[in-house]
């Protein structure tokens, strides 16, 4: 008789705790305001990432197609995995002196670990974080980017 009673009280206890847990799930079922998920691909137009979001390394250019990179190569030295290559070239400036300027700032997004050392150590604040995050491509070579735009020049106020 006792075992019989225990058997049913066990079942009763199980059902009770089950209902206790379902109080919460049911509660949320009838409270759609508490839904926190975003409809991601549909809300692309309004989706805004945080300003600091580490999407990729970019080099901002102004309206005159000018950037701040001097081609010093400090970012290249600080990158732990060789994601950055700086190619420089010699050019004569307005005063007739030969100066070294950046030819190509090559950035391998496929190898970048987003540690932020290049951005932190750049002495002239030439590079920063971009907010794009949809980087999926079919061909890996598309992830190698040249950050300085073709034909761009260095801003006057930046000292090399």
């Amino acid at each position: 008789m006792n075992a019989f009673f225990n058997y049913f009280s066990e079942i009763g206890r199980g059902v009770k705790t089950l209902l206790k847990g379902m109080q919460i799930t049911n509660g949320y079922f009838f409270k759609p305001r508490e839904i926190v998920t975003q409809k991601y691909p549909e809300n692309r137009a309004t989706l805004k990432m945080f300003d600091q979001f580490k999407g990729e390394v970019i080099m901002p250019h102004d309206d005159n197609n000018q950037h701040r990179c001097t081609g010093c190569g400090i970012c290249e030295n600080n990158c732990p995995n060789g994601s950055i290559q700086i190619l420089t070239k010699k050019e004569t400036n307005a005063e007739g002196k030969a100066v070294r300027i950046v030819d190509k700032h090559i950035y391998h997004l496929s190898m970048c670990t987003f540690c932020g050392l290049c951005i932190k150590t750049c002495p002239s604040d030439a590079i920063t974080w971009g907010q794009t995050f949809e980087h999926a491509v079919f061909d890996r070579s598309k992830l190698t980017k040249v950050l300085n735009k073709p034909g761009s020049t260095i801003k006057k106020e930046v000292k090399g």
Binding site: T25, Q52, F53, P80, F114
Partner: protein
């Protein structure tokens, strides 16, 4: 007449099966070689190394600033304490005193990370034991913490934010208000965790008296973190050797004596409340000041050996470095909590059923990249 004995195939035989390396309940690439008698586990041999990246060796070719981003990738759920361990080691070796602001922020980040990590663990642990609902609820609350992280330093998981000398950049102005919103929110939501899972009859049946670890075992295997504290082993580095701002906050070290799966579960649940308490004490006391001290571009540690330990969400992380005065360390060694915590699983699981092995490994809260490094 000879009675025909009924032969059950494999009744008294031992057989071996593999659990993993791709198994949903090992949460990573870990392989258990199980010797079974029927459904009873006779022996567990963990095989690790599937995600070995040679981080310790890689450190020997990286400067101290660059090592930071490698430590993220060990225990990715405790990225802040991992970063902090290396940073504290460098600061100790150079005799640098970081500003108060940095200390307080570092402590808060570690606690936020601990909360997020325990929430993810709770979510996944419930799922291991068949309660899928917990997964969504745990991740929902963790998302709030990840939002704070993302706003201040741009990434959700691998932050590389704490660096030798301070922080990479200053915290976002919203940081304080967001943490202040988070505290009452979690105070409201954490009791739901108890209601949903802790009292559930199926859950308690599956976790109470399963995988009992004695205090002696915990000490001799070097089990630290909540898993060790579930057996009454007071191993909290935050209490024993306070670093950053832990010496001025008031919190309890949660200790349980049962040592079973349920005790380890409860330690983590109660630790979340303690973390909230720490955050509450610090959020209004972030002093103004610099977020970093000026460091040389190339850090060279003086010749010698250094050791620093911190408490991550899973236990004690020790960093040992040998320097010959160069810009690269001569040898770097990480004493990671999960590596020690893993190997007691054989002792805990013996004599239990396979299903209980899942509960036990879940309650040890293993992060596999931290085991292999």
């Amino acid at each position: 007449m000879v009675e025909k004995a009924e032969v059950i195939l494999g009744e008294n035989e031992q057989y071996v099966i593999n659990m993993g390396p791709q198994h949903p309940s090992t949460h990573g690439v870990l392989r258990f070689e199980l010797s079974l008698k029927g459904e009873i586990v006779d022996k567990v041999v963990p095989h690790c190394g599937y995600i070995h990246r040679g981080i310790e060796k890689m450190c020997e070719a990286n400067t101290y600033q660059q090592i930071i981003h490698l430590t993220d990738r060990m225990d990715y759920l405790s990225a802040h304490p991992n970063n902090e361990a290396v940073s504290l080691l460098v600061e100790k070796a150079l005799g640098i005193e970081v500003p108060e602001r940095v200390k307080v922020i570092r402590t808060m980040l570690s606690e936020l990370g601990r909360l997020g990590s325990h929430q993810l663990w709770w979510a996944a642990f419930g799922m291991d034991l068949g309660a899928l609902t917990t997964f969504f609820y745990g991740l929902r609350d963790r998302e709030k913490i990840l939002d704070i992280f993302e706003e201040s330093f741009g990434s959700r998981l691998l932050h590389s934010y704490i660096c030798p000398g301070g922080l990479m950049n200053d915290i976002h102005p919203n940081f304080k208000t967001r943490v202040k919103e988070l505290i009452p929110y979690l105070r409201k939501k954490l009791p739901e965790y108890d209601q949903l899972l802790t009292g559930n009859v199926i859950f308690t049946e599956r976790s109470k008296n399963i995988g009992i670890m004695t205090k002696e075992d915990a000490i001799s295997y070097g089990i630290t973190g909540p898993s060790g504290r579930g057996s009454g082993f007071a191993c909290d580095v935050r209490k024993a050797e306070p670093y950053s701002a832990y010496d001025r906050v008031d919190f309890k070290e949660i200790l349980m004596t049962e040592g079973d799966t349920f005790a380890r579960y409860q330690v983590r649940i109660l630790e979340m409340y303690e973390s909230i308490k720490i955050l509450e004490q610090l959020v209004d006391q972030i002093p103004d000041g610099d977020y970093t001290v000026k460091m040389k571009p190339i850090i060279k540690l003086p010749e010698g050996e250094y050791y620093q330990r911190v408490e991550t969400a899973r236990g004690e992380l020790g960093v040992y470095a040998v320097s010959t005065g160069e810009k690269f360390p001569d040898r770097m060694r990480f004493r990671t909590p999960n590596f020690s915590n893993l190997f007691i699983i054989d002792k805990l699981a013996r004599g239990h059923k396979i299903a209980d092995l899942v509960a036990i490994s879940g309650s040890l809260d293993l992060v596999i990249p931290d085991i292999d490094r």
